[in-house]
């Protein structure tokens, strides 16, 4: 069956362009990209995009699904529905489940549950060390063959550098991607805010900004030492950026991500201890946010993710420092990220390089492009449509969004995975 997406504003992150045109899809893949003037091809079905934006589906690295262990917070079904509604066509899930995904059997469970219930693609990551305890490396080869796309201990950096060195060397042998969390653990432990006048005024336990630069320096040296391929999960401070730039210039195999919340919110949003704004790493001063957005525009930051972290009401209805960190983000990733486009700092193709193309390349996936042969994972959206977010309308099982009652701009109208529609926004 052939589907033609007519009259679209095609966002092509690979060419760095946006242009009117159409897209012909057959058997789950893009078979032709047609300019506006071209003859309309014969198709079984035509989707009239009405001049709205059509872009490659978002590949969100670092999504937490509560399976196994915390299905009451998020299941593959609810997470998948939220992803579809947010234009996320691939969820790259975290291994920090209960128990953690650190052996092929648990990984297989996640795959099976995902296949049964998620409307979007799911690619699980596995832990780097057993039980994420930083003592022994996982069966990296078996896990990779079983489908683990990357290895990470999440927000727990491996403190034992000798073990980390070996794990990285081993990862080179099997060409595995290691994702690290550049926050120095000694300084970051228990931190609910970023050290500075604001955190001091609120009396919150905090970690210094430089805890990131410090750990990033270690991690980059480890990559240099071992030749491993590494990705920094979240860069959030201005001070870390020159280090990252130098490492890239030096030719290290390193890429870096940013959390959309660090790109759109700052520490003052915590205001009077609003626990939905407690995330890891904590929100930063405005100067850091601006520097980070600039790094997205400059291409220094490769990937933007939601770091979707569902928490139930009980985990958040607590004093700030006791509240569980994290925010849901699958459904708000695109409208939040579009804030950078509306402010004129980042172009749409550049944004989709960070949301779709680069994460695909990083994981060796064929998607993230609007090109012949690429899978028809697509998102249709109106970048300008305004709305006020009501957290109770989220499809996610947990409603812990920092954007509740916020005015946002940009709505997903439809989402396709492998040519099949998985989401269509109700009109009105």
């Amino acid at each position: 069956m052939k589907t033609f997406f007519a009259d679209a504003r095609l966002i092509d992150p690979e060419a760095g362009t946006e242009a009117r045109g159409g897209l012909l899809v057959e058997d789950g893949a893009i078979v032709a990209v047609l300019p506006e003037a071209a003859v309309v091809p014969a198709a079984d079905r035509v989707v009239d995009c009405g001049g709205r934006c059509l872009a490659p589906g978002i590949v969100d690295i670092g999504v937490k699904i509560g399976e196994p262990g915390e299905r009451h917070k998020e299941s593959f079904r609810t997470g998948g529905l939220a992803a579809a509604a947010g234009g996320v066509t691939t969820m790259v899930t975290r291994p920090d489940t209960i128990p953690p995904i650190d052996d092929p059997e648990t990984l297989e469970f996640a795959f099976r549950r995902a296949r049964e219930s998620s409307p979007v693609r799911v690619l699980p990551m596995a832990a780097l060390t057993k039980a994420r305890e930083g003592r022994e490396m996982v069966e990296m080869g078996l896990l990779k063959d079983a489908g683990a796309v990357a290895f990470t201990d999440g927000v727990r950096p491996v403190r034992n550098t000798r073990l980390l060195q070996r794990a990285l060397i081993y990862s080179v042998g099997i060409d595995a991607l290691v994702i690290f969390h550049p926050q120095e653990p000694g300084l970051s432990e228990g931190a609910a805010a970023t050290s500075g006048p604001f955190a001091s005024k609120l009396g919150l336990p905090s970690a210094p900004l430089l805890a990131e630069k410090l750990q990033l320096a270690r991690d980059l040296a480890m990559l240099e030492m071992t030749g491993a391929r590494g990705h920094a999960d979240q860069i959030s401070t201005a001070a870390a950026l020159p280090l990252l730039a130098a490492a890239k210039a030096q030719g290290l195999k390193v890429t870096a991500g940013a959390n959309v919340h660090h790109l759109t919110l700052n520490e003052y949003d915590i205001a009077d201890y609003r626990t939905f704004f407690r995330i890891t790493p904590p929100l930063r001063p405005e100067e850091d946010r601006v520097a980070l957005v600039q790094a997205v525009a400059d291409g220094l930051i490769d990937v933007i993710g939601s770091f979707h972290t569902p928490q139930d009401e009980e985990s958040k209805r607590l004093p700030f420092e006791e509240a569980a960190p994290g925010a849901v983000g699958l459904e708000t990733l695109l409208p939040a990220a579009l804030q950078m486009v509306h402010s004129g700092m980042v172009s749409l193709p550049r944004l989709f390089a960070c949301l779709a193309l680069n994460p695909s390349k990083l994981l060796g996936l064929p998607g993230g492009r609007l090109a012949e042969g690429a899978p028809a994972d697509l998102v249709l959206f109106d970048p300008d449509a305004p709305f006020v977010l009501d957290r109770y309308t989220l499809r996610s099982k947990s409603k812990n969004t920092p954007f509740d009652q916020r005015r946002m701009q940009g709505r997903v109208l439809g989402t396709w995975v492998g040519g099949g529609q998985v989401f269509a926004r109700e009109q009105g």
Partner: protein, 312 residues
């Protein structure tokens, strides 16, 4: 004013109003019949998630002298230990229709969180490292009575500023009333970004006390003395303990304050603490009851629009 959650939300005028009213209670408290019936029939609950004999007793006496029915809940041994959340505890108590809740909690912001969930007046009796407004008010009243004014004074706050809610509330209050505030202590016990607080910071205690009108000492918690923040108790006393020699740098008529309980020989020399010419530590305790009576009184006054008191 619906709640008293911190000094931050108070204006200069409100602070003066509270102190003026407290002043009246000071004289009242010195008479044999201390009973004032203003809060008869009202229920006041003390919820102390962190143990405190002194502050709790001060609030209890204040409430009782105003005629309120006072209930003390020792939260450290109650259902909170059984896993009940702060909010559920608040909702449970709220259903019993208290008029005043006095809350101390170990986490910053916890009292404000609780205040959102109940429909009675909430008084912050100390939340984490954030604020302890009644302490700052009683300190202000003590200073005003001793110095005859509460402006254009040089006040040195000494010791563990980083972990102190007393320091934060005092910095705010003394700043609002247009005083010079100096912070004195080891750098490990100074909050980050303290230079943005509108204060002067001194490492050297003698420099910090030079010409001060008021020397306010803070308690150094035992758990900070283990080498994590300062090398040892005796080194701390050597550099930042208040003794006669260091006090000599302050003005001759400078007063010495301490929120209690004191560690004699750690942050303050016993002789200074007991010197009736310099130390106003006992007077602070007395002012504490009067200030708390004033706060309870003001928060309980109904006006034409619901709970808004004369202060708001």
């Amino acid at each position: 004013m619906r709640h008293l959650l911190g000094i931050e939300g108070l204006s200069q005028g409100q602070i003066t109003d509270i102190l003026d009213l407290a002043e009246q209670y000071v004289s009242r408290n010195r008479q044999p019949d201390k009973h004032v019936g203003g809060l008869a029939g009202r229920t006041m609950i003390n919820m102390f998630f962190e143990n405190s004999t002194r502050t709790q007793a001060s609030f209890e006496i204040a409430g009782k002298r105003l005629g309120a029915d006072v209930l003390n809940m020792s939260m450290a041994t109650s259902s909170v230990k059984k896993g009940e959340t702060l909010i559920d505890t608040a909702l449970t108590l709220n259903a019993m229709h208290p008029d005043l809740l006095v809350v101390r909690h170990q986490n910053s912001g916890a009292v404000a969180l609780l205040a959102e969930k109940v429909n009675c007046a909430v008084i912050n009796a100390g939340d984490g490292r954030h604020e302890h407004p009644t302490q700052a008010l009683l300190d202000a009243l003590t200073i005003r009575r001793r110095k005859g004014r509460l402006h254009r004074l040089t006040v040195a706050i000494c010791g563990d500023i980083a972990h102190s809610r007393v320091a934060r509330s005092n910095i705010l209050l003394l700043g609002k009333m247009e005083n010079r505030v100096r912070l004195v202590g080891p750098r490990t016990l100074m909050p980050t970004g303290v230079d943005k607080f509108g204060v002067e910071v001194f490492e050297d205690m003698r420099e910090g006390l030079e010409g001060a009108d008021v020397v306010m000492m803070l308690r150094l918690q035992k758990e900070r003395m283990d080498g994590g923040f300062i090398p040892s108790e005796r080194e701390y006393f050597h550099r930042w303990g208040l003794d006669a020699e260091k006090l000599g740098y302050a003005k001759d008529e400078a007063i010495v304050m301490h929120p209690g309980p004191m560690n004699r020989g750690v942050e303050i020399d016993g002789e200074i603490a007991d010197d009736i010419n310099r130390s106003v530590i006992q007077e602070q305790v007395e002012m504490g009851v009067a200030v708390r009576m004033a706060v309870l009184d003001l928060l309980s006054r109904p006006t034409h629009n619901g709970r808004e008191s004369l202060l708001a």
